[in-house]
Point group: D3
Chain length 308, copies 6
């Protein structure tokens, strides 16, 4: 089952540890687009600790083994990737399955449907301001859409479902639904530290992406000279504030317009389908997935009968 490997990998984390008898070593987690793997680097010197920091790409020769049921690497040789080798960290992180250009096109189409003038201007202002980070950021640290461009991809995917629902239920206001939807998670570009070694920032922890994007709407209004007491602005703010659906999930208010209720459920269904898709990919037919913490700790069955 063990096999020799010769790979370029990105260091995701590198913890300094000590063995029972006092020798220092580095506990690595490596990453490439196919997933993660751990390895211990025995007898690490001070220079090694310095050299192999998270975010570094390395060339590694070793053996694939199993330890306590999980795969791990035994390191034979390791060195930092050199010029001329694939040393750009972004090559090693999972990314959205559609191109950025394609996504931008779809956003433009949706923004075109926002006929309310204030909402249209606010959405375009904020998307402009954060465009670069928005198309890089994952949608979460670990759970759903946790990959490069995941935030934008999650939003695009939600737009599709929103179109289907608002066709079915024409009493929903498309301007309000689409602008709330596009903005709802943009605060994550400030809440999270970015796509490679994703952590929560101080603002992320102490303020949270929900209030952060609310503040951005307020700032956009001031820049654009839009009166914030206007009902449409208040409602747009309400959309982003209430999108977690329940106070105990961090929304300071619960949805109080139908579009906000719709947004919450579209967010849920898309996040859940994405998590399940990822989990099923790693599960054998005829067996159950690992327990998924963000899905109320359930584990899901992958049938034999189906083609997929």
């Amino acid at each position: 089952m063990d096999e020799t490997v010769n790979l370029f990998l990105l260091i995701k984390s590198a913890e300094e540890k000590t063995t029972r008898n006092g020798k220092p070593y580095l506990a690595f987690t490596f990453q490439d687009t196919s997933g993660e793997m751990s390895a211990n680097f025995w007898d690490a010197s001070e220079e090694d600790v310095e050299r192999y920091r998270p975010g570094t790409v390395v060339k590694l020769t070793g053996k694939r083994e199993e330890y306590k049921g999980s795969p791990q690497l035994r390191i034979n040789q390791i060195r930092p990737a050199q010029d001329g080798e694939p040393s750009n960290p972004e090559l090693y992180v999972e990314r959205a399955p559609i191109k950025k250009e394609k996504m931008i096109e779809q956003f433009n189409k949706a923004i075109f449907d926002i006929t309310n003038a204030n909402m249209n201007r606010i959405v375009r202002f904020i998307m402009n301001k954060y465009q670069k980070d928005f198309f890089q950021s994952p949608a979460a640290k670990t759970n759903h859409h946790a990959f490069l461009g995941g935030l934008a991809f999650h939003t695009i995917s939600m737009l599709d479902i929103a179109r289907s629902i608002s066709d079915q239920y024409p009493f929903l206001d498309k301007s309000l639904l689409f602008s709330g939807l596009i903005l709802h998670d943009v605060g994550k570009v400030i809440e999270l530290s970015g796509p490679t070694a994703t952590e929560y920032t101080l603002e992320g922890k102490l303020i949270g992406h929900i209030v952060i994007i609310h503040e951005e709407i307020s700032k956009a209004c001031q820049q654009l000279k839009i009166e914030e007491a206007n009902e449409d602005v208040v409602l747009l703010k309400h959309m982003v504030l209430s999108h977690h659906g329940e106070l105990e999930y961090g929304s300071p208010v619960r949805p109080q317009v139908p579009e906000a209720e719709a947004l919450h459920y579209i967010d849920q269904i898309d996040a859940r389908m994405n998590m399940l898709q990822a989990a099923m990919r790693k599960t054998e037919k005829g067996s159950f997935s690992e327990r998924l913490w963000a899905m109320e700790n359930r584990s899901f069955y992958k049938p034999n009968f189906t083609e997929k």
Copy 2:
């Protein structure tokens, strides 16, 4: 504000009561497609009690008034509707906004997409068996889709959303999702007493529509000589059993395949949008709806800014 009326109405309920000083009267709730209204029939004789039972259509002359903030009728004259008059109770109940034929067409299209042979046969068997009641039944006693044909209409509407989601997430098995979706609420034709004076039946209360439809799948298998231990049958049963999502909402098991999770959320979103649509219709612009019990007792705001 008061006005004289001259109407045909359906008696929805008729309670015998006594005034403080001992005189009997009948407390009516009338119904037509535009809603409900109450009225008291003073000094009701034994014959009146007999004559004006729920389900009877009456001709009524009176005045529209308000009592404790709710509209009510003051009865001047009342008599049962006669032959030649619109005396069919079904004329007075709200009904699905699309025709039965149109709905059948859409079901057939969906059933066509169920390529798994066992599921396809089971779905067609059950739909055949309950076809008549299925297209009459409301989807609930009071909350969502509580009208003639509401059950079928709710199911059709969910199919639309399911198509959009399964396009987005092709790892979902369409056969399983569509057959589970079509069957999920069919048990309500046994749980509820029908479209006119909808009540829970004894089986509805003591067994519940979730287990009722499960039993119907089992019976279909026996009739069709399908082996119930087959994985696809077990999964189809699981779909209907788990569609309330959480044990505390009456599902004996939680969703454990992705299609079951999807079904639960599609059901939620469609039921909620339908309830909100109905509530918004009754709400003035710029004000809040009444509290909606089935929406966690929230009340929802109808904006001024929008056209709708």
Copy 3:
């Protein structure tokens, strides 16, 4: 027990209703500094409805009676108060037990102790901007400190407890604790409609006072050219955002610095003591108060043994 009265009163609310036999009347709630009382005005004409709106001061002759265990007035004569009579509505609302000037003095003393420059400037900016409303506003619609100036009084009272606790626990940062404390409820001047006929505004319902004050801090920074990414600004925002203590009480984040935890508990203890003080005032010795909804629906005992 009944007695004839001859009073000036403020109309707190005036609902149009209809008797069972269709006659319109006005159901009043009157208010003066000693409390509230209800009365029905029979056979109210259209002009009466117009004349006796909430916020009007009236002269009333009638009789004090009891109806279903609550006191009510029987109206003999009623007319709007005239010039030269005590017709200013503010004379009829309960007010804070200390003078505004005295309160301002105490705020200044506290602000003096905020040695952190950014916090000091932000607090002074916001207090200046909302000074007038802040000293008028109640602290809540119904529960605690629901009187003219209640918001300022509640804040002053909390400052006193905060001083005692920060003397006891010198590791707490006084600048952070005091500035968070002073600002924590200022959003209520926007959330609530003011001291006389207190209702929630649309922003109050859809955004809430917690996020409103957060936005004000952000705006103050922009005006004062204070960098919002500074740790002290982030912490001050965190103080106001987390002051409800738990997500389910409407804080989008839970307290994550000791000063925020302290603020939450000081707020609780002061609000609860104020509610109990008011309830005890209305309770006979040796008996239990009415149930207090905001105190988990408990009712409290007033002992015989004590002097008070």
Copy 4:
């Protein structure tokens, strides 16, 4: 404390693992009627893995040791049991303290008291169909009555308590109470994989024993030509469906007849007493048991003062 042993044992589980430095070994759990014990088999070959599967009886020579507070075996020699040796796996599993014949007698006595004809026939039909498995099956995978014949023993023990309660409360219908009680857990013969290496089956996980037995009642009716809409059949189904007492414990309906409420509590009390009996057996006088997960994670004290 360590001692040399020479034993026949049943392999309950055998996990393939790898040491830190890459060597394969087998982690065994052995079982006999006195309990369980673990042991590691170092340097296991492919043939060993094949030879020592769960369910095999082995002869083992080794030493009893302690590791991290739990007893474990150090293996000196191991080989599969041979013909003529005690190689029947059932000899090594705990079993009900009374004989099967004695239990059958008591069931017959109870069935005799079921005077309602439909219930009597349904109970006899199902007990006949599953008789063999019913007297083998444990009542649960780990918690209560987790031994060979545990399901039947649990049911017998509940019948005794039920007799005492129905003597005390003659308004309870004995036919309904006894037939619901006898059937309530029969679904476990399908939910669980049997007495030796008890696991949940796919049907057990996706459908659950509560709905499984409901389906069996329905099938019995079809075979016996009993009309399922009869009130007594509906009530019998209700008994098994509601026996977990609360929706969140997996019953799709809550008890709605007194006999169902009684059944739920009798089930609880018997399961709990059985778990406590087993836990107390393993606890020293004057000390607390380990934490019992199924008893809300409490730990229980075994007194010194008593004889037992």
Copy 5:
């Protein structure tokens, strides 16, 4: 449906009220062993209020009517019962179905089985001290066994179930189980005001029957010179403290010996069966009972099929 009556009744409560147009009246609740009924006494004078206090037996002539679905009496004549008439209030309250002498006999039998000397002495001491009240007191103000002697009857009935369970599970210590059981609710003689107009006393509200009986055990030890630190005394105290099973039901500790767990469940089952018996008595065959607040607000079905 109305009928003339001529009855002796006990006044359970008598509230002074005022009609809308200011006239005083008395709202009575009457009681006899068959249940309760309400009536209004119009134009009550000050003397009437004085004369017809709760606890008085009256002779009443009037008519049985129905008001808002509940039966009530229309009073024609009323006067206090006179000497020579059945004027003893205790004649009008429901009472335990077995005689006090018979109950005492059963208690003695149980106490005889308490072989632990300390427990035996403590139980006898307390039962002696409160004997008179214990055989009078109801077991609760409204819910279960709310009748004269209900407390003793509830305890007797529990003893029967306890015998059955301890026969089944001989590891349970009979001394501990029986003494805890007999004492568990004795505190109610102090918590409640007695059998006729049952209310909570101040000690009942502020301390509660659980802690009250704990204190009585402590006092008994002091009188009997029993060392309170003895393990058997600590355990007996633990039995009464933990008998509500969960902290949120008012037990300061959860059961931590098997006998305490048993006691809690026996208490539950007996209280629930008693409430259901009373509710079923008032329910028609083929219909549902009123909602039972203490049974999680469920309503229970009374079948047609059974004889009872």
Copy 6:
């Protein structure tokens, strides 16, 4: 990072363990006033086990190392402390930051303010009886004020806050508040085993400090011939019984007088500030503390900006 040490330390716990290959060793936790550290003593003989029991002071030479992120000691030499060396265990436990004499002074001042005669006598009686233990005991096993004298120090600190609040809210009865406050945790001297190797006693587990102190008040009354049915005694008992605020936190009754509500919140705020103070002391500026289990598992941020 490792360093050689030469220290006197107190053995807090000493567990006998076995290595994988069967060799016995002792796993120590050592303690001095600066905190705790663990170490393994390899190849411990039977005599060593006997010699190095918890509570012993030892002299140790070794090296400070890190293992799995936590500091631990490598033992070179170890021997029990000898006469003439600092061998008194109390020297090694953390203690209250103010002297016992100073604390007594403050208690006397508070008791002086208890003007109610019964309360004053009861408080003095109990404080006298337990004075020695009270000034030794920690306030909890692990969470807040878990040090020598912590119980007294916690009480003193609460008195200070109580003074501030009762100045603010003069309707509170100082006698009731102060006597309840002083006694509220005295039961911990029986619940916990004392300041050096703090464990729960059997009474602590089965009865709990809340009911223990209630019993002490009852005993004090008997000794002092104070009538227990007096309202002031009932209220004092209520204060201690209700001080955990909610049933689910172990109070058998919820606060029902304002003084009891105040006590609960003062207890909370002081315990929380103390835990935070201790946690902040161990946290670096600009980083988050470890998760604090008793603070709802939150972790707290220590800012950079502040001096402290």
